[in-house]
Structure formats: structure tokens, C-alpha cells
Symmetry: C2
DNA sequence: TACGCAACGAGACGGTTCGGTTCGTAAGTG
DNA sequence: CACTTACGAACCGAACCGTCTCGTTGCGTA
């Protein structure tokens, strides 16, 4: 990953010539999001995105190395996707807060599930992008949970039947499973069930 | 889905003309499996499958309605994928047995993870096939777990923190999450962790 | 103000890939 | 032998990728 700003010490802003258009970038991200949401990922070609965005294909190739990266940026922009790592002082409240925040975000922005599905598909189809997706996105989300769990373990209120890794596996496993495999909503009942499972000890 | 054998009452075996070649069917399934395992799903086109199988494309179109269905048949043939629903008499042993059987199958047949990934991708790209996949495969697997859990609930040894739906969500959620999102093995440690989580009560 | 430079939208281009169909032949059935 | 259906191969058109070339546009600098 030596692309981007890894250009010596300071990122040279741009010296001369016409600057890149932020409007075009925005239009591209919007068009990609809409196509994925409305017509499914199979319909999202670079060609179609460019056409819908009212943009030349070259502008897209200049800005992103692959289709997946467009979607990844669209996702991270979509909401303040940064779900803050809660700190309620105890494990049950932390885990419940994280679940509530995550579910609320999905419900609030209905395109997010479509983007997530598309990204996971692209990660399977393009292994190089897949690595990027795992490193830059999936592991970040996972780290939020393991941070909470580690904190709980130190505090001593993590149930003996739970460890940090399995907690992350369970939470994101269920979320992705529902996104991809079963058409089930992210409702309070699921949050209840998961929180109960992960906070009940012997 | 009115294709296939939904042809009146009795499935007419075949009356006249050249019979379909079972060898061709086998070669197609084998070729599809190998391409997916060796080159990834992105490389698995009908064209390549036909070429590798030494078969005309028409023979494929005559036998399966879509690429996903080829892979689905390849998967169900691959092993006796039918993992028997355990009945060990108690919930912890049942759940442990199901996990062990499932993990052992994946370890024994290394193409199975590739096929599963490919099927999940295809389910996202082709919604019509996706419905078929969910109905004919995913729900069956899920039912195995809910059957165990229902039995345990009746017996009274299902922990209060677990219910049938969440047990299935957790087990298959984690399995699919590991297949698609994190490069982690299906080892005894995972089975231990999951079994502990699902069998420990307050 | 005038000039130069890079990005812009649009689209042409060559090339590849693929899905689906057509064609003449092969293999069974009656 | 006549008939029927499957067979492999070849063919066709559409879609798309990535590059390239236009003439144009906007910004920094001379």
C-alpha cells in the first residue's frame, strides 16, 4: 500500500493546473450508492456509475484504484460511521450500547446494508481489495468489541463463559449473517438476545 | 419455481432419444468445483466450466437453471453434506457434537469453504437464486440447531440466556463470518468457546 | 491580464469476456 | 431403419474495462 499520501514527508497539495473537483467525487459516491441500493451490486459497473454521476470514466480511475474502494469510501462517509466505543463503566451496559448504536445506524441509513453486502461480495471477488477491506474496515469494527471485552476482563465483570475474541465473533457474525443470509431485521429483540447471551455468566 | 420436475403428477423418466449423459453432469460439477477452489469464484464462468469439463455450454444450460445451482449441487454432493441431527440426550453434548461434525466436514473437504463462499456471493448477485439458496440450504442447516434447542427447552436443560433462534444465529453467524470475513480456522478452540457460551447458564 | 497546466465531461477504441443460440452429428428407442 | 433427443463446437451480439483523445474549464503564476 504505497499509494496515496505515502509520498515522502509532506503530501504536496497540488502545484498547478486545475484542481480536482470535489463535486465530482461527491457525485461519484452518490451515484455508486444509489445504483447499489436500487439495482443491486451486479448492476454497478464503472461505466454506469460514471454515466449516472455525469462524469467521465477517467475521473473515476483517477480517484480510486477499484470499484470496491469507491463503495468503501461511500460507506465510511454515509454516516459518521465511526460508532464511538462506549464506556458506561460496566460490561452489560457497554455491550448493549454498542449494539444499540450499530443497529440504529443501520436503521437510520437504509443504504448501508446494501453497501455492506456489496463490499463483502467485492471482497470475495477481488482478493486484493478483500485484504484492504478486512484491514481498514472489518478489523476496526472488531477492535471496538475486543477493547470493551478487555476492559471488562480487567475490571472483572466479564463472564467466564465469554472471551474477547468470541464476543467479537458472535456480534459481527450475527450481524453479517443477518445481512447476507437471512432477511431478519436488526431490532431490539435481537439486541436483547445478544446482550443477554454475552452478559450472563454462571 | 415451477421448473424441473413440477411437470404434472409423475416425473416422466424419459421416453425416447439420446439419454442425458451422467458423465457430462459429473464432469461439469467437478470442473465447477475445481475452478472455484483453484481460481476463485470470479473466474468461474459458464464458459470456463464447459471448457474444462469438455462439454458444450448447451449441456450445462439443459441441466441447470443458473450457475449458482451448479455449485449448489456440487456442494450437496461433495460430502454427504447431510450432517445428522445429533441426539445425545442433553443440550451441551448435542451442540458440541453438531459443531464437531460441521467443523470436521469443512476440514475434511477443503473445497467446501470455497463452494460456500461462492454460493453466498452468487446469492447476493442473483436474488432469484438467493431465495433458492436460503430456502433449500440455509434454512435446513438452521433448522438443525433450532430442533436441538427446542428439544433442550422441552427437556429443561437449555440455559435461560439462550433461545433457539439466537443459538442458530450465533452458530451459523460465526461460521459464515469466519468463512467470509476473517481468515481464522475452524478448530477445537472455536468449538470450545461456542459450546461454552451456548451451554453456560446463570 | 495573459499564459500554462492539469483536471474536466464526453466518447471512441480495441480487446476481452460472457451469455445464450444455432448447427450438424452422435447415441439411444421403438 | 426412422425418429427423437442430447451432444460438442462454433457463432453472435452485448456489455464492460481500461486507455486515449478531443475540446473545454478553472486555478495559480508570471
Amino acid at each position: 500500500m504505497t499509494t496515496g499520501t505515502a509520498d515522502g514527508a509532506a503530501p504536496p497539495p497540488r502545484r498547478t493546473g486545475r484542481p480536482r473537483s470535489q463535486d465530482s467525487r461527491d457525485a461519484i459516491l452518490l451515484a455508486a450508492t444509489e445504483i447499489v441500493a436500487e439495482q443491486g451490486y451486479a448492476a454497478a459497473s464503472i461505466e454506469k456509475i460514471a454515466q449516472r454521476a455525469g462524469v467521465g470514466k477517467q475521473t473515476i480511475y483517477r480517484g480510486w484504484p477499484s470499484k470496491g474502494d469507491i463503495l468503501l469510501e461511500a460507506l465510511t462517509r454515509k454516516a459518521d460511521l465511526y460508532i464511538p466505543i462506549p464506556d458506561e463503566g460496566n460490561w452489560p451496559a457497554d455491550i448493549r450500547r454498542l449494539l444499540d448504536d450499530s443497529f440504529a445506524l443501520v436503521r437510520r441509513a437504509p443504504q448501508i446494508p446494501d453497501l455492506l453486502r456489496a463490499l463483502m461480495v467485492e471482497a470475495q471477488l477481488d482478493p486484493v481489495f478483500g485484504d484492504r477491506f478486512r484491514t481498514n474496515f472489518l478489523q476496526h469494527r472488531r477492535a471496538a468489541v475486543t477493547t470493551l471485552a478487555d476492559r471488562a476482563a480487567q475490571r472483572g465483570d466479564l463472564p467466564a463463559s465469554v472471551n474477547a475474541d468470541v464476543a467479537a465473533d458472535v456480534i459481527y457474525g450475527v450481524i453479517w449473517y443477518r445481512l447476507l443470509a437471512v432477511p431478519a431485521p436488526f431490532d431490539d429483540r435481537l439486541a436483547d438476545d445478544l446482550a443477554t447471551l454475552l452478559t450472563t455468566g454462571p
